[in-house]
């Protein structure tokens, strides 16, 4: 004969489990995911914030997440409600979400974004690129003022390798005898400044060794250990300085300047845009490297880094 107490205990446990999963299903999934600090959803302090929360996205790249967090906290300080959707992925993954209006604010990199929409673009200066971008972005999206800070792909070699082969620019790579391997994210393969572009502009052949850490520690280690000869490391990465790497110059402008440029949807009104541009105005190249350094060397979270920096700049 079954013990009624045990049965009810089991029923209770089952109900508890179902409730738990039921509760779980609604919260983190609907609210998008957060980096740290403020939980998803409300962070506004009342005031002039719009009724609809502004959705701020970021790439699956820690530096981009810091910039997103800067915008997010600055907006929250002005009373806006912000929803964070971080670590989405690379351009091909998040742009459809931006274009559909699911994401309102996305920190982007001007040159690459322009080439993504218009592979034949001829603009080479930051102002020209920005103007071209404004024309080429789809309906409902506009670029805000670019920051001075850039974070672009760059071909790097170790100092030793540069000295051994007298390398200062990408054109010099032609004189290197050995087969050249470049460590980079896998999408580098199809980027305009990847192996194909390098071949066309400088006549240099390279093969890509894909390491999915966005020019991070494993890529740097591969370069320093000599497993690869070149590495695609973003210019705002502190390890270029720390590991004494040499960034090869690009006289043919294969790699366009990548100024940090927020792409916003129509849901972002002039006031909100002004807040974001206020942050961008203070973001110099040095500042960005400093922010990245805090993340990688001091292992601080993007929320903490953003809070400190905004306070220091008088923006929060």
């Amino acid at each position: 004969m079954k013990n009624p107490t045990r049965r009810s205990a089991l029923a209770l446990a089952a109900v508890a489990a179902l409730t738990l999963t039921g509760c779980g299903s609604s919260d983190p999934l609907g609210g998008g995911d957060t980096a740290s600090g403020s939980p998803s959803g409300t962070g506004g302090m009342g005031g002039s914030g719009g009724a609809e929360p502004l959705v701020i996205g970021s790439q699956q790249y820690y530096s981009n997440e810091i910039i997103s967090e800067l915008y997010a906290q600055a907006l929250e300080a002005e009373g806006y409600t912000v929803q964070r959707e971080y670590q989405i992925g690379q351009r091909e993954v998040y742009l459809p979400e931006v274009e559909s209006g699911a994401i309102d604010v996305m920190p982007e990199y001007s040159g690459n974004l322009l080439q993504y929409y218009d592979a034949e673009a001829t603009a080479t200066s930051p102002t020209d690129i920005h103007a071209a971008l404004a024309e080429v972005l789809p309906e409902g999206l506009r670029p805000l003022e670019s920051a001075e800070a850039t974070d672009q792909d760059s071909y790097n070699v170790t100092r030793q390798f540069a000295e051994d082969h007298s390398l200062t620019s990408l054109a010099d790579l032609k004189s290197v005898d050995e087969p050249l391997k470049v460590a980079a994210n896998s999408e580098f393969e199809t980027r305009p400044y990847g192996p194909e572009g390098l071949k066309k502009a400088y006549g240099v052949d390279v093969t890509v060794v894909p390491v999915e850490d966005s020019g991070g520690p494993l890529t740097v280690k591969a370069l320093v250990d000599g497993d690869v000869q070149l590495a695609d490391i973003y210019s705002a990465d502190p390890s270029i300085e720390t590991k004494d790497l040499v960034t090869l110059e690009d006289p043919e402008n294969l790699i366009l300047p990548q100024n940090v440029t927020p792409i916003v949807s129509d849901a972002v009104d002039e006031a909100a845009a002004a807040v974001i541009e206020g942050v961008n105005a203070k973001l110099t190249a040095e500042e960005l490297i400093g922010l990245n350094r805090q993340s990688v060397e001091e292992q601080a979270s993007s929320a903490d880094i953003a809070k400190e920096w905004l306070a220091g700049q008088g923006l929060s």
Binding site: N3, R6, A9, L10, A13, A17, L18, L20, T21, G24, S25, D27, P28, L29, D33, T34, A35, S36, G37, P39, Q60, Y61, Y62, Q87, I88, G89, V93, E212, D213, S214, G216, P217, L218, S295, V296, Q299, A300, S301, D304
Partner: protein
Amino acid sequence: MNWVLDNLPLIADRTWAHLATSLPAILAALLISVPLGWVAHRYRALNGPVLTGAGLMYAIPSLPLFIVLPALIGTGVRDVVNVVVALTLYGVALLVRSVADGLDGVPPEARSAAVALGYPPLRRFLTVDLPLAGPVVLSGLRVVAVSTVSLCTVGAVLGIPSLGMLFTDGFQRGILAEILTGIVLTVVLALVLDRLLVVLGRLAMPWARKTAEVGA
């Protein structure tokens, strides 16, 4: 570990997201496997196909499944429904065999006695077959729980939130503590779930322990 202390909210978020995807999948796997396993047990002709199908299902690699499934069920790759469905499929693939084996192991005398007492088929299934098959089903469920929790992390490379994001982020920034935290938490979560199931099993099936003791 300073990193851990500084990032407790992030860790909590990731753990929550992880549970929110794995727990429903485990539950769904159980709810689907029981009737499916019963079919395989009851209709001998279907036994082969169902179990072979389950075996093949398990052979399908996880990352590709996360990628192929959206095309079939019409969600996005990053959609949580996608992950839960995929994890459920793996859970069912593992559990169906346990259910079928468990039901096969029910002593025919017990069944005959129930029939003799006049139990209608559904009551017989719920109060005789299932409880007696319980221990075998439970051991299958424990394996499903552990492997689901572990498998859930793979989705992080596709941008799906879980403890796996501690691996991708730690990897990008070179923070070993972050990766270790992710590993430890995943293992702990899996083992806690495992223990929980054992305890629930003892509550639900007190006779199982006694039978084991007698047989030992």
